[in-house]
Every structure is written in structure tokens, then in C-alpha cells.
């Protein structure tokens, strides 16, 4: 008797959960903050498609898709410079059908640039979503003279410096030495030599560094508590901190901030491609894109979003960037294969040194 009771209960449970299970889902592999909860709920209400976001970073996104040979997710959001060489080598994305994209709501120059940078065998693989820069986040009271990346190796800020031990750090420091690492992308030997030099600098100045932070939140915490005064980080982090403490702000470095564009790309074995296109168009709709920018403070690729932005957000940009600073932004070109392993070895050496 009891047993049949349990069986009936189980049967009811299966029956009721049936429709929910069969509803469409959209699996997104993206960065923290790129799929705000409010927008997910709005999208679910409009389309009935359930969104399941997973948070990650460029390297892990690519490694995950490489492991599954391009299946498991319907949409991913790598940076534009990490698409063409990865696609040539591992074939994990599928070409974008731009007729399904509402391109009138995207800033034209940005769409063109991304199409050009992700071109492989005559087809393009990505749609721009948001952009931002990496530069210095500085506590101006404690470090008034931090104007360029070399502040990360300045003995005046001993023990108050932090950065990620990742490729942007190497590239930023190369620019501050007056070199142009992007121009050397195609020349493996020259690039290796340049980066080894930077690696030696990092080892020599290692004693000045507080720690190598692992993610943006960890850095915000270190800057809030005053444990770090100079850091190499994303502009939005600096602006978030500026809201809480006016002494801290993002500073566009004299040798040029590093500009990146994050995109939408569709994995080669995505199951729900239609939903992926729907999400792309939804996220780039002016008011939704503006909601994202107001929340996360990244610039958006959406054309009309400007009208919905908060005053504060617009001020952030004009406060940190003069017209000259904008001209100086170094946008990441596509990364050729092989560079990652060169950089990886140098970064390992820096971390292992004493």
C-alpha cells in the first residue's frame, strides 16, 4: 500500500515536471555579469526559453569547448581576438548567419571590425556585445603619480601593487617600454625576445607586488581595504570603486589603454541555435543593453543604448578618457596560435621565481 503510494507520488512528480523539462533551454557560457538576472527573467517571459548561464573566462571557455569538440553550450562570449586562430585550429565555432542578426541596433563600425577580425575562410564568426579597456586602477591619494603601466614596477608603491599574472600584463608593460607587441605578433622570435625581457623585469620587481589577483572581485576587495593602491585592471572595476570611494579611479595609461571587445559566438555543435540568435538580438536591444551597461559599467555595442544610460555612467568615460586617450587605445588584434605557450612559460617562470 505504502509502496504504491510512493509510486503514484513519483508518477505525479514526473508528470508535472514533464512540461518544464521539455521547455526550450539556452545554455550560455559567458563572463560573470554578462547575463544579468533581471534580463534573463525578462527573456524567459518574452520567449518561454529558459536560460542557463555558466560563468568562465576566455581560456576556460575555449578549453571547455575544445574538450567537447564544440558541444554542450548554445552560445559563448569570447573576446574577439581569441576567435579566428582558435577556429582554424580546433573548429569549435559555427559561422554567424548575419541575416538573422538585427544589425540596425548594433554600432556599424564595431560590427564591421569584429566581422573582419573573426574572418576565417570567407566567413565571420562573431557579433560584438560589449567593450572596455584595461589600464590602471589607482588610489589617487596614495599614488598620485601613477600615470603609466610602469607604476606597476615603481618602488614607491612597494607592497601596494597587484596585477593578474596573465598575458595582458606582459603586453601592457611592453607598451610602456615604448615597444609595440601587437606589431610583433607575426614575428615569433622578436615577440619571444620582447616578452622574455618583460618577464625579467617582472621577476626583478616581484618583491614590490602584493599578490597576483585571481579575479576582479578579489581585486576590488583589496583596493577597498587599502591593501592595494596601484593595479592593472579593467576600467569598469575602477569606476565601480569610484562610486564608493572618490579617491579611487580608472586611469588611462600614458602609453595607451588596452581595448578589447567581447562577442557572441555560436559553438559548432550548439543544439538550440535559434534561441541563441534570439538572445543576441534581445541583449543588443537598446534598453536591455543599457540596463547591462548601467549595471556592469562596460561599454555596449548597441546603437541606441546611449539614450537609456545613467548620467553617472557617461561621466565615468569622460572623466577617465580625454580625446587623446581614446586615440591612444591599443585594440587587441587577433592572437596568432603559438603565442600562448611562449607567454605561458614566461609567466610560469615569473611565478616560480623568488
Amino acid at each position: 500500500m505504502k509502496f504504491t503510494g510512493i509510486l503514484t507520488a513519483a508518477a505525479i512528480l514526473v508528470a508535472t515536471s514533464g512540461p518544464a523539462l521539455s521547455a526550450e533551454t539556452l545554455k550560455i557560457l559567458t563572463w560573470t555579469g554578462y547575463a544579468p538576472k533581471a534580463l534573463i527573467e525578462k527573456f524567459e517571459q518574452q520567449t518561454g526559453i529558459k536560460v542557463e548561464p555558466t560563468y568562465s573566462n576566455n581560456e576556460e571557455m575555449i578549453a571547455k569547448l575544445r574538450a567537447t569538440r564544440g558541444s554542450g553550450f548554445d552560445l559563448i562570449q569570447p573576446s574577439q581576438d581569441r576567435i579566428s586562430s582558435v577556429q582554424e585550429k580546433y573548429n569549435i565555432y559555427q559561422p554567424i548567419d548575419y541575416s538573422k542578426i538585427e544589425s540596425n541596433q548594433i554600432i556599424t563600425s564595431m560590427l564591421k571590425a569584429v566581422q573582419k577580425n573573426t574572418l576565417v575562410n570567407g566567413e565571420s564568426y562573431a557579433v560584438p556585445f560589449c567593450y572596455g579597456t584595461s589600464g590602471l586602477v589607482v588610489n589617487k591619494k596614495a599614488a598620485p603619480n601613477a600615470k603609466d603601466y610602469d607604476a606597476l614596477m615603481d618602488v614607491n608603491y612597494k607592497g601596494r601593487i597587484s596585477y593578474r599574472l596573465k598575458r595582458p600584463t606582459l603586453i601592457a608593460l611592453a607598451f610602456s617600454k615604448g615597444d609595440d607587441p601587437f606589431a610583433k605578433y607575426s614575428d615569433v622570435d622578436a615577440y619571444t625576445k620582447l616578452m622574455e625581457g618583460i618577464g625579467e623585469d617582472l621577476i626583478a620587481t616581484k618583491g614590490l607586488v602584493k599578490n597576483y589577483y585571481a579575479n576582479g572581485d578579489a581585486l576590488l576587495e583589496l583596493m577597498r581595504s587599502g591593501e592595494v593602491n596601484v593595479a592593472l585592471a579593467w576600467d569598469n572595476g575602477g569606476w565601480k570603486l569610484h562610486d564608493e570611494n572618490p579617491d579611487i579611479d580608472f586611469v588611462a595609461p600614458a602609453s595607451g589603454a588596452l581595448g578589447w571587445i567581447d562577442t557572441f559566438a555560436i559553438p559548432s555543435k550548439a543544439k538550440n541555435v535559434d534561441a541563441a540568435y534570439k538572445w543576441i538580438n534581445f541583449m543588443l536591444k537598446a534598453e536591455n543593453a543599457a540596463y547591462f551597461t548601467n549595471q556592469e559599467k562596460y561599454g555596449t555595442a548597441s546603437k541606441g543604448a546611449d539614450a537609456f544610460l545613467e548620467e553617472k555612467i557617461r561621466n565615468n568615460f569622460s572623466r577617465s578618457f580625454t580625446a587623446a586617450d581614446i586615440d591612444k587605445i591599443n585594440w587587441y588584434p587577433p592572437v596568432p596560435a603559438k603565442l600562448e605557450s611562449i607567454e605561458g612559460k614566461i609567466l610560469d617562470k615569473v611565478k616560480a621565481s623568488n
Binding site: 581560456e59 576556460e60 575555449i62 578549453a63 575544445r66 607592497g159 596573465k166 616581484k206 607586488v209 602584493k210 599578490n211 597576483y212 585571481a214 581595504s225 587599502g226 591593501e227 596560435a337 600562448e340 605557450s341 607567454e343 605561458g344 612559460k345 609567466l347 610560469d348 617562470k349 611565478k351 616560480a352 621565481s353 623568488n354
Partner: protein, 283 residues
């Protein structure tokens, strides 16, 4: 016949589990580790991934450092947990000993990540310890207690304590109190009793606890990374870097195998040196 069939039926899930989830992926990894990219960008069979470990100083030095620290952690863990285990099993009454065992277990109901963040909140420059030391006037400006080897070892010892204390308690429970009393009657000192009676008796427990702690520490990723800070290149992190940051699965797979082989070797040497027997330790 029927008995044997039952045996196979019950054994099948275990064998399938071992084969599908452990043996098969390792075979795949082994083949990946034997391939490398040549100058043309094609995959060819090669031992260069293994060669790289021995020729590049940074790789084997990292391994050496990891292994030495793992051994140190194992020894420290034993030195700390042995008195605790002895106290719980031999000194306090039975009822209280159960309560103490639960107290030891409670922190492990929380995930490792949360425990490590707990330590970070206590130790950081703007953390709890510094706050109270400043208030008591013992120091004038906060000291950075995180991001060095000592805090990392402490974190490692803390995360692996349970795996040492449990085998020690179960071995000590089997030790007849009469033996210790008899030794006292015959005039043995405390040190002699511990050295000649207690330690030899619980040696299998020490061995199995040490193996578990050593392997867990060697394979740990989180603690060295979060608490060790800028100097803490751990060998597992290098495997992660090869797979994720450098996209070099072949090198990462080779490192994975080297970790497996070298750690097995270290345990084998350890067993030989202390004249222990693996099957006795695990029984």
C-alpha cells in the same frame, strides 16, 4: 558456480567504474602525452613532452618544491594530530571522546574553499588578527600574514588534518590500555612508552594516514593558489596552466603522468625506508 556469478554481478559496477572513469581516460591522456606539434604545426609522435620536464629547470624544480612541501605537510600533520588522537582515545571518557570526534569533523562539513576563505579573512592585512593585535597595542601597523610559504603550509595542514586523525583514532582504539599500564608498572618513562609501544602499534594507521595526506597535498590546487600568493607555483597549477592557458594539452597530459609516476615512487620509497607494508597499512 552461483556464488561466482553473484560475485561477478556485484563486482561489475566497480570494474565498470574503474575502467570507464579511470583507466580509459588515462589511456587517452597517455596517448595525448606522447604527441607533440612539430614546426609545421602537425601532430607527431614524440617524447618531447617528457623531455621538457627534465630539461626545463623550472618544471622539475616546481615538482621538487611541491614534493618537499607535501612531505613537510605530512610530517607536521602527524605531529599535530597524534597528541589529539591520543587524548581523544586514551585520556578522556568514552562519552566525551565521541563528542570531541564530532568537533573534529564539523569543520569538514564546509567545503575546502569556504574554509580557506575563512583563513584569508583572519590573516589578511585588514583582517581579524591584525585588527585585534592593533587594538591591543602589540603592533603599530598591520602585518601581512597571507601570501607566504608559512601560511600556505598552515592551510595545507589544516585541510588535511582530518585524514590523519581518523586512521590514528581507529588504530589507537585497538591498542589495549593494559599494555601501557604494564609498561608503567615496569618503570618505563613516557617517551619510551610512546616510542616502543604506541608508535609501533599504530604504525599501519600512521602509514595509511600519511599516504592519504601526502597524495591530497600533492594534488591540492586551491590552497597553494589562494593562500600561497605570488611565490606558490604548485605542480598542479602548472598542469592547469598547460591545459587552460597555453592550450598545450600534450604537455599537460605528460605532466599529469609524471605526477602520477613520481608520487607513486615517493610513496614506494617511503614504505621501503620505514619498512612498512601497503596491504597491512590498508587492512
Amino acid at each position: 558456480m552461483a556464488g561466482r556469478l553473484t560475485l561477478y554481478i556485484f563486482l561489475a559496477p566497480v570494474l565498470l567504474w574503474l575502467f570507464l572513469l579511470i583507466v580509459l581516460p588515462h589511456i587517452d591522456l597517455f596517448f595525448i602525452s606522447l604527441q607533440a606539434e612539430n614546426d609545421m604545426g602537425d601532430m607527431v609522435w614524440s617524447l618531447s613532452n617528457y623531455e621538457a620536464f627534465f630539461t626545463e629547470k623550472i618544471y622539475w624544480l616546481t615538482f621538487l618544491r611541491t614534493a618537499v612541501y607535501a612531505i613537510l605537510t605530512t610530517i607536521l600533520t602527524f605531529l599535530i594530530t597524534f597528541p589529539i588522537a591520543f587524548y581523544i582515545t586514551k585520556v578522556v571518557s568514552l562519552r566525551v571522546s565521541g563528542f570531541f570526534t564530532i568537533l573534529l569533523l564539523v569543520p569538514f562539513w564546509v567545503s575546502e574553499l569556504v574554509r580557506i576563505y575563512g583563513w584569508m579573512i583572519l590573516l589578511r592585512e585588514s583582517g581579524v588578527f591584525n585588527h585585534y593585535l592593533m587594538q591591543l597595542g602589540l603592533i603599530d601597523k598591520p602585518i601581512e600574514m597571507l601570501y607566504n610559504d608559512i601560511s600556505m603550509i598552515m592551510g595545507l595542514v589544516y585541510t588535511s588534518m582530518l585524514f590523519m586523525v581518523v586512521p590514528l583514532i581507529s588504530s589507537l582504539e585497538g591498542l589495549d590500555d593494559g599494555l601501557i599500564e604494564a609498561a608503567y608498572d615496569l618503570g618505563a618513562s613516557k617517551i619510551v612508552i610512546i616510542w616502543k609501544i604506541v608508535i609501533p602499534y599504530i604504525m599501519p594507521g600512521i602509514t595509511s594516514g600519511s599516504i592519504v595526506v601526502f597524495m591530497l597535498t600533492l594534488g591540492n590546487y586551491l590552497t597553494p593558489n589562494l593562500m600561497g600568493g605570488k611565490n606558490s607555483l604548485w605542480f598542479t597549477e602548472q598542469i592547469y596552466n598547460q591545459f587552460i592557458a597555453s592550450f598545450n594539452w600534450n604537455q599537460g597530459a605528460a605532466f599529469g603522468f609524471l605526477l602520477l609516476i613520481l608520487s607513486t615512487l615517493i610513496i614506494w620509497i617511503g614504505l621501503k625506508v620505514t619498512r612498512q607494508n601497503l596491504s597491512r597499512a590498508l587492512s
